[in-house]
Symmetry: C2
Subunit: 150 residues, 2 copies
């Protein structure tokens, strides 16, 4: 079975070099813009009421994948699905960014961590009632933090 996805827009960012792109939006204050293709602009109604949006996009510069990878934030091989590594069987990225403005088909965003010209697949509203969990453990990421705190 296969599913064919078509971009609904494109994300513009200051980053044209993978090496210099921030690892996660929480580590980035970079601004960017999202251009939604005009046929989809009507779907942006009411988005301006939300402070944050979830972006689903294509890691368009990533091809192929390995099932054990070294995360950017760690120095050991980890199972791919325990990481946010961009080389994945389905190269879909997810980032939550702050929205600065929403005019017609253009959104200004802050906290961008993607390469310029990233194809956008979907926008969803960020809703803490759905998206914030408590009692969280974060495996290797947590241990890595503890090491750094020592």
């Amino acid at each position: 079975m296969e599913y064919v996805m078509h971009p609904i827009g494109v994300i513009h960012s200051p980053f044209t070099d993978k090496i210099k792109t921030p690892i996660q939006p929480s580590r980035s204050t970079a601004k960017g813009t999202i251009e939604i293709f005009s046929g989809f602009a009507e779907g942006l109604a009411d988005v301006d009421g939300f402070s944050h949006i979830i972006l689903l996009y294509v890691f368009h510069c990533s091809s192929g994948y390995e099932l054990r990878v070294k995360p950017f934030l760690d120095n050991q091989l980890r199972g791919l699905f325990a990481t946010r590594h961009p080389h994945r069987p389905n190269p879909i990225g997810m980032s939550i960014v702050r929205m600065l403005s929403c005019r017609k088909n253009v959104l200004e965003i802050e906290g961008v961590d993607v390469l310029d010209n990233t194809p956008l697949l979907d926008i969803k509203p960020y809703v803490p009632d759905f998206d914030v969990k408590t009692g969280v453990r974060t495996g290797w990421y947590e241990v890595r933090n503890m090491r750094n705190d020592e």
Copy 2:
């Protein structure tokens, strides 16, 4: 441009009827299982260290979309991208669920809000440092809550 996605596994849930499926995992205590296709099982290493995982999947029973929809939790038409409605140009769903166990290629999860046999595209670890935002406004969703509190 188009991007072809192939499932890495399937989500089993108690829900076989769209109408009876919970709206969001935070409103569900239902348990389910994820079966990862054997070729991808190695990528599950280290996932057991995480209490919560982000699932990206296909809304496989949704076809077509409209750019203004009535959210399940509201009674007014809203821009599609300001909602989590399953009928989307790229029908990708996102849910954050609690992981109960991870053995070989099978994950037991809690907080399932998807239909049985949902095709799974990706698993990412849930990391509050990346995924929890502060100073959040939630537009129509917030107003709806206020109405209900009255």
